[in-house]
Amino acid sequence: MPGPTTTAPVEQKRVMDPSRQRHGLATRRVLCASCDIACSVVAEVQQGRVTRIRSSDNPLFRDNICVKGVMAPKSFAHPERIRHPLKRVGHRGSGRWERVSWDDAMADIGARLKRIIADHGPEAWAVSTSQWNTGTDHGLGRRLMNHVGSPNWISGVAMCAGNTAAINRFTYGWYPWPDYDNTRCILLMGHNPHKNSWVPIHNAIRRAQKNGAKLIVVDPRRSENAEAADLWLAPKAGTDGALLFGLLRVILDERLYDQAFVDRWTVGFDDLVERVGEFPLDRVAAITGCGAQEIAAAARLYATHGPSVIPWTPITDMQRNSTSAIRLQGILRAICGYLDVPGGEGMHGFHPRIVPESVVEMHEALPEAQKAKQLGADKYPAFTYRGQAALRGPARRVWGYEYPNQVTGCFMANPTAVFNAMADGDPYPVKAFFALGNNALLSYANLPLIQRALMNQDLVVVQEHMMTPTAQLADYVLPGDSWLERPWMFDAFGWISLHKPSQQAMEPPGECESTWQFWKRMAGALDMDELVPWDNLREFYDWRLEKLGIDFETFAETYDVHADKLEFRKYERNGFATPSGKVELRSSVLEDLGFDPLPYYRPDPPRDPDYPLDMFTGVREHEYFQTGGRHVPELRKRTPEPCLFISPGTAARQGLAAGEWVAVETANGRIEVMVAIRDNMPDGLVRVPHGWWKPEADMGLDGNLSQALKLSDAILCRDDEDFMDREQGIPHLKGVPCRIVPLESTS
């Protein structure tokens, strides 16, 4: 069967090979950054080089490891890895480069950026990063941008956890983290942690189940977690908001909520009841395709078998009704009394003695006039400075900081607005774009727009490991180090108050440097050396840890994970970090921004008969994370081509066979993929793989940017009004109308 599998037996016995234990090797405790969950693993070092990644010796982190981590030593040794600064010598996208020194590159980048700022203002500089890739950015980029005067920072977290954090703050002022260790019920909405993706969460869920917790899975596909669930609901893709209204309806009608908590700690309950009244179960069933009895059973299980948790899900982040659906999840957590209790949703706040990245970022340094220029803030303000402004005072009161930038997603520009400004100068020109550890071209909706945006820049700077399609359109490509080659301190993106150190296991190859070092160089190039007064990363960590009375090296030697004391129901001291100090079921922030203060459900636009199927994207193969990893031979052998997953019924109706190459088309564009038939897929829904390009293919525009222009799902993803969330302006990726066209019948 072509393509990767999507299901596997839940019970799988392992036979550990004793010969795997290799004694007498130097080892370093490191955090894997092959994805964004930062697994604690061990690096074995021989001849100054990491030769194996294995599971941690700490029982807390046992088996938190996947194929991407195991293959990391090979990944970072790839012959095509960028090891020296490169400067473009042909036209943009020509694929022709010359090697230059770091000093020459940074001097030229600094001079050109200064010129752009002088001509167009500091807001003409935009930066896109993925902090999990760069690792050591640690907020230095924002710090520099804030002092220069640019608010235009974007990231993939705009539609993946960062936006969730920002929207959660509207309801109760913090984005909580589930207490898997003590929970009794898990409601998993579409996210499917498995043995090669978000492994610690996969393991935590399995452990919770073993301890008696119930698992409710909401997923159109019969995923690995659906197979392991006590209750599986399979809604139509993209209807999470309606389903959540159904759950609430049952909980309210049957009075299954925590009356005392609601009375004492919420505002807007009567308004909520009225809004939920618009969603009788037969209406919810009609929208979602789930049975009314199933919905009622899930609601009762969640509300009565608690404390329950609703873990983060990227699925709700990427829908037309994302803001409302995220709010509905928050409302469920709150009215059932699960906030900040054991087994519920922990609201940790910041570590009292470790400097958080939110402080490093210095958002207070960006003048209000520049904050007001943040792209997208006028129309889609939810996660921008404007959208979060009303929470500044409450955040200071409760959490001690005015700008708690949880998951780096609370003060972002809107990506689509940034790309429009880059491409067309509307509402003002953006002429310099930095992409750090971020293959921007393939990482947001509407690739054709992003390509046009990049082609219209005066300066594009990329820091990367490999010559990605985005890098191929740059002026400078700078070599980045990897998680094996640097010290690192992971702060869980400010989501939970845990800090995990990572020891440097080997020297970086060539002239590869950390993103931290890049920003230090950049501060120098902009005559702002004083903004980065630390000589190196270790000194910076020492400063952050100073109040603990420990330096970083000792910290890393001593702890696998460090946390302060655990406290519950902290809201009883200072209230919630919202304007009212309570859980805002009716959001005053959204109301003041001109939006519906209550969650609502916006139906699909009328179906275009030319596109009879629905597609979803955003799901990763086991072997890859985002757009990375296709250069690793062992991983590529397992998943060599981008595969379209369709049900046997859909395949039969479309006359398609497994292994056949087809085109998938939406109103936005067209890509080519190979058909893979999966019986866990529902009829009418197709899954398009995320992030495909082929590192071995010809580079430059003549080579279709290593085939990205033929294979990337970002080509299909729409960013027009009907397919954007109203408050955030993020794209709907779960249920986009599409069609499948056999390749021989297309031109």
Binding site: V15, P79, P342
Partner: protein
């Protein structure tokens, strides 16, 4: 003590144990790790490649790194 109070106390104790186990420096830390090691034993699903991969040879990786490149 209420059920909620018991749950809070248990969660705090488990968290304390986890922190000590993670530090693993003195006898109390090591006892905590020993206890957690037994309590947390679960047969998780692990990919075959994770289970069976023997690691790389340092010289093999170096040869691989020096392979043909299209970049300057």
């Amino acid at each position: 003590m209420t059920a909620h109070g018991r749950r809070e106390r248990f969660a705090r104790f488990a968290f304390w144990m986890a922190k000590r186990a993670s530090r693993n420096r003195n006898p109390v830390d090591r006892i905590c790790r020993w206890i957690l090691d037994r309590l947390l034993k679960t047969e998780f699903q692990v990919d075959d490649m994770v289970v069976t991969h023997p690691g790389f040879d340092a010289e093999e990786l170096e040869r691989y790194e020096r392979g043909k490149s299209r970049l300057p």
